[in-house]
């Protein structure tokens, strides 16, 4: 069930990435796809995370003016790195996830820029200004999205809900024949 929810979240993230810049230009600095990929990687399922990274990256590349596969490359690598870190270090605390999403965003942009420069492509915008804005936008929105995901998506949340609203226990009706005994 969690897998289905995360897949739906990833599809929504790709659609948002495709459309939001047309509504408001500053929203381009929020990498919704990276936020969901990092969240998936933090769930310690590295296989799912890297597949998420590859396919969502390619979906963004398909509509971007950049090199096809550039986002696929960076997001796959980041998903793997984050999932490996999450396997070794306990990262269920929200405060620990903030530096992770910030670091992932920084690495994603540096790798993306580096791969394009390596293959002789020019890019618009100043490297450090773009990275700074992306870092702020993605970290702030990412943190808010993680709070939302933790409340609605994770198993922990459903366990908590089960604890708060336990199913009513029906007492077993005693056998009236044996009542006298």
């Amino acid at each position: 069930m969690e897998q289905v929810k995360l897949t739906v979240a990833l599809i929504i993230a790709v659609l948002l990435q495709w459309t939001l810049r047309n509504i408001a230009e500053p929203l381009v600095y929020v990498d919704f796809v990276l936020i969901v990929v990092v969240y998936a990687a933090l769930q310690r399922n590295s296989l799912r995370a890297i597949l998420f990274g590859t396919f969502s990256g390619l979906a963004v590349d398909a509509l971007s003016g950049g090199l096809l596969g550039a986002n696929g490359f960076t997001k796959t690598l980041i998903a793997y790195i984050v999932s490996e870190i999450a396997r070794r270090v306990y990262m269920d605390n929200l405060l620990l996830r903030i530096p992770v999403i910030a670091g992932a965003c920084f690495l994603d942009n540096i790798l993306f820029y580096g791969m394009h420069r390596l293959l002789g492509q020019d890019m618009s915008g100043d490297l450090w200004i773009n990275i700074s804005y992306a870092l702020i936008g993605t970290t702030v929105v990412g943190t808010a999205i993680y709070i939302f995901f933790d409340s609605f998506l994770s198993e922990k949340a459903s366990n908590r809900k089960r604890d708060m609203f336990p199913a009513r226990r029906h007492s077993r009706r005693r056998n009236p024949i044996r009542l006298g005994k």
């Binding site: 659609l15 990435q17 495709w18 459309t19 810049r21 047309n22 509504i23 230009e25 381009v28 600095y29 590295s46 296989l47 890297i50 590859t54 990256g57 390619l58 979906a59 963004v60 398909a62 509509l63 971007s64 003016g65 950049g66 090199l67 096809l68 596969g69 550039a70 986002n71 696929g72 490359f73 796959t76 690598l77 793997y80 999932s83 396997r87 993306f112 820029y113 791969m115 394009h116 293959l119 002789g120 492509q121 020019d122 890019m123 618009s124 915008g125 100043d126 200004i129 773009n130 804005y133 992306a134």
Partner: protein, 299 residues
């Protein structure tokens, strides 16, 4: 059993990552090779799929934006009304003077037997999407190959050049905006044929401004002069307005100018564009133009 399968997954993952990274890298390498010439199939598919999402979102968002804008506009309508009434009176006077000039113009045209004809057909299109990556300036329009749009067709808005078509799907097309560094436009300061201040206009990272390179320092360049396409780049027709000179720095007659241009069309806020149904004359590939001396000798 579960533990073992988990270990297998962990052992498998690095290999899968390597394969995926290699696959993506190969895609990038191919993409870098043919990014200027052909278009990639996956991009065409992406554009087609995205159209079903982007078109409704663009319609709804522009409707909501226009609604709030109209409310905001009502506030200043009273003052504007007074100003406009005054301007109408002034313009009426000007119009009467110009009517005479138009009639004279027509008469002279008839005398010279000239006919008004528009050079290119223009296809109106709406921008339904922008580049999802912050590193590039491209846009998606709601006209595609079914409407006659082809690769490298020029795109204009508000009387100025916006960019060119870089990918076409049946329903949509992707355009690269001029502000993108890679796009180079052959341009001239002043009208084509009357000026020798030729150069190449390229995108910069400075607030949507363009940069004109290779303009010789010996030419006279003034801030505010208009820049037009020369048609020598083999993509854009001659005579399209690129923009006006915003800043020009001279480093002596031996070095080229450093010129910044304000684009004629406001590239950040365009909603509607026109695609010029113009196809440049076919060019002969370089290797066919130059015959090798060895072959000539043999003949």
């Amino acid at each position: 059993m579960v533990e073992r399968s988990q270990k297998e997954v962990w052992r498998l993952t690095p290999w899968l990552v390597l394969v995926l990274l290699l696959g993506n890298f190969i895609l990038m390498a191919f993409s870098a090779k043919d990014i200027t010439s052909g278009q990639r199939l996956i991009r065409v598919w992406g554009l087609t799929v995205a159209d079903f999402v982007q078109s409704p979102v663009a319609t709804i968002s522009s409707g909501v934006t226009n609604y709030f804008r109209s409310i905001a506009n009502l506030r200043s309508a009273q003052d504007e009304n007074t100003d406009l009434k005054q301007k109408v009176e002034e313009l009426q006077l000007e119009l009467k003077a110009k009517e005479g000039l138009t009639a004279e113009n027509e008469r002279l045209k008839n005398l010279l037997d000239l006919k008004d004809q528009s050079k290119y057909k223009v296809l109106t299109a709406r921008i339904i999407g922008r580049d999802p990556s912050l590193w590039f300036d491209s846009a998606v329009i709601n006209q595609g190959s079914l409407n006659g749009v082809k690769l490298n067709m020029p795109v204009v808005a508000n009387g100025g050049l916006v960019g060119r078509v870089t990918a076409v799907s049946p329903l949509t097309a992707q355009i690269d905006l001029l502000t993108r560094d890679k796009s180079g436009v052959g341009a001239v300061i002043g009208q084509v044929g009357t000026s020798n201040a030729l150069g190449v206009v390229m995108g910069t990272s400075k607030n949507g401004l363009l940069e004109m390179k290779y303009v010789p320092g010996t030419t006279d360049v003034q801030v505010g002069q208009s820049v037009f396409t020369t048609g020598q780049d083999g993509i854009y027709p001659a005579g399209l307005k690129v923009g006006d000179i915003f800043d020009a720095k001279s480093y002596g007659s031996s070095q080229p100018y450093q010129i910044l241009i304000q684009p004629a069309a406001s590239l950040d806020s365009i909603q509607e564009v026109g695609v010029l149904l113009y196809e440049p004359p076919p060019t002969v590939p370089f290797d066919q133009k130059v015959s090798t001396p060895t072959k000539e000798k043999k003949k």
